[in-house]
């Protein structure tokens, strides 16, 4: 039994099946709160807690799944390239929005962490949390943060963005679809973008572009900013 559990295949299969369950629940409930990734992570944690499966045994397969992260990050390039015409047409507003937005995200996270008295490890884990997970994770680890905390913060941020952006759009009367889309993508990456797609085609495309552009600009900011 232990041999089967510690085989990498076990962790790989678990990732796939828990995610499938997450997708199924998400489709049923139709709310960003039922995030498939969140459901899958919770299910795996439950299984590790309740069954003989240990964290180390799961990680044998988990590390194989994680190995696919760099290629998945690289192909984000093709998702920006697909929208290149939209990007060209609105180049300045998108760049300016993402530049200001990613700076706001990092600076406000930094000052709030300091204000709450959090240590450097947690601060480094929180700084990149508005961008897409693969970029956020790399920046977090490079800055001395904890990847798991960053992943949790990224998912939570995405859910907040998906739930609150329609309310914010009404509250601040942001009728321009370009502004709404770029704001959603910059503040809440792919999870927010799923909401932006529901709001409209322009919003969805803009939000999708903002994921990549804000991700890149956050990397640039992290090189320039003193924290």
């Amino acid at each position: 039994m232990a041999e089967i559990l510690s085989s990498p295949l076990c962790g790989i299969a678990l990732c796939i099946f828990t995610f499938k369950i997450g997708l199924w629940v998400n489709r049923r409930l139709k709310t960003p709160l039922a995030n498939p990734l969140l459901i899958a992570i919770s299910l795996v944690i439950l299984l590790i807690g309740l069954t003989p499966l240990s964290y180390e045994q799961f990680s044998a397969g988990g590390s194989v799944i994680s190995m696919l992260l760099p290629p998945a990050t690289a192909v984000l390039a093709s998702s920006i390239y697909r929208e290149i015409e939209v990007l060209k047409r609105n180049f300045l507003p998108i760049m300016a929005g993402c530049l200001a937005g990613s700076l706001t995200s990092m600076a406000s996270a930094y000052f709030l962490c300091k204000w709450f008295g959090l240590d450097e490890t947690l601060t480094a884990s929180m700084l990149p949390k508005s961008v897409t997970t693969p970029i956020a994770m790399e920046l977090s680890v490079a800055g001395g943060g904890i990847a798991a905390v960053t992943v949790a913060a990224v998912i939570f941020t995405g859910i907040i963005g998906a739930c609150l952006s329609p309310i914010l759009i009404k509250l601040f009367k942001i009728e321009n679809p370009v502004a709404a889309g770029v704001a959603i993508g910059t503040a809440s990456h792919a999870i927010g973008t799923s909401k932006a797609i529901e709001l409209g085609e322009v919003q969805g495309a803009m939000s999708g572009i903002a994921i990549g552009v804000a991700g890149l600009l956050t990397v640039a900011w992290s090189l320039v900013l003193p924290f």
Partner: protein, 134 residues
């Protein structure tokens, strides 16, 4: 016939994966050569974007493999997320603060981004109006 068709498709996916992994390897090389810390996978993303822009790689060349990775990307974060188990004792006492930071920064980022975009669009319109007037 069917066999040949399937075989051709399989070779295509192999080529796609070959390109993607080669670009990742190039990203590692660039990241190691740069004088400042730069994430290797982001370097790979920039390289791939440049290859697409210059036409060196046709978007169709990435086809199914790239779509597969993009569509199923979330699954790749499960192991990292489960890693919170190892960190829970350390994070537990700060969890409310961390949640508050997520909420406040997300609202701020949304509002600043939206109004920056609106401001630039307004400036551009004014610029165009002056152009046509003059």
């Amino acid at each position: 016939m069917q066999f040949e068709k399937d075989w051709g498709k399989k070779m295509k996916i192999l080529t796609q994966l070959g390109i993607i992994f080669a670009v990742c390897l190039a990203g590692n090389v660039v990241s190691a050569l740069l004088p400042f810390p730069f994430p290797a996978s982001v370097a790979a993303m920039v390289i791939l974007f440049l290859l697409l822009l210059t036409g060196a790689v046709k978007p169709a060349r990435l086809g199914e493999s790239s779509d597969f990775l993009l569509k199923n990307m979330a699954i790749l974060f499960i192991p990292s997320g489960v890693g919170i188990l190892e960190q829970y004792a350390f994070v537990r006492e700060h969890i409310l603060k961390l949640a508050a930071i997520c909420l406040i920064t997300t609202l701020l980022t949304f509002v600043v981004t939206a109004f920056t975009v609106l401001g630039v669009i307004r400036l551009q319109k004014r610029g165009k109006a002056v152009e046509t007037d003059g």
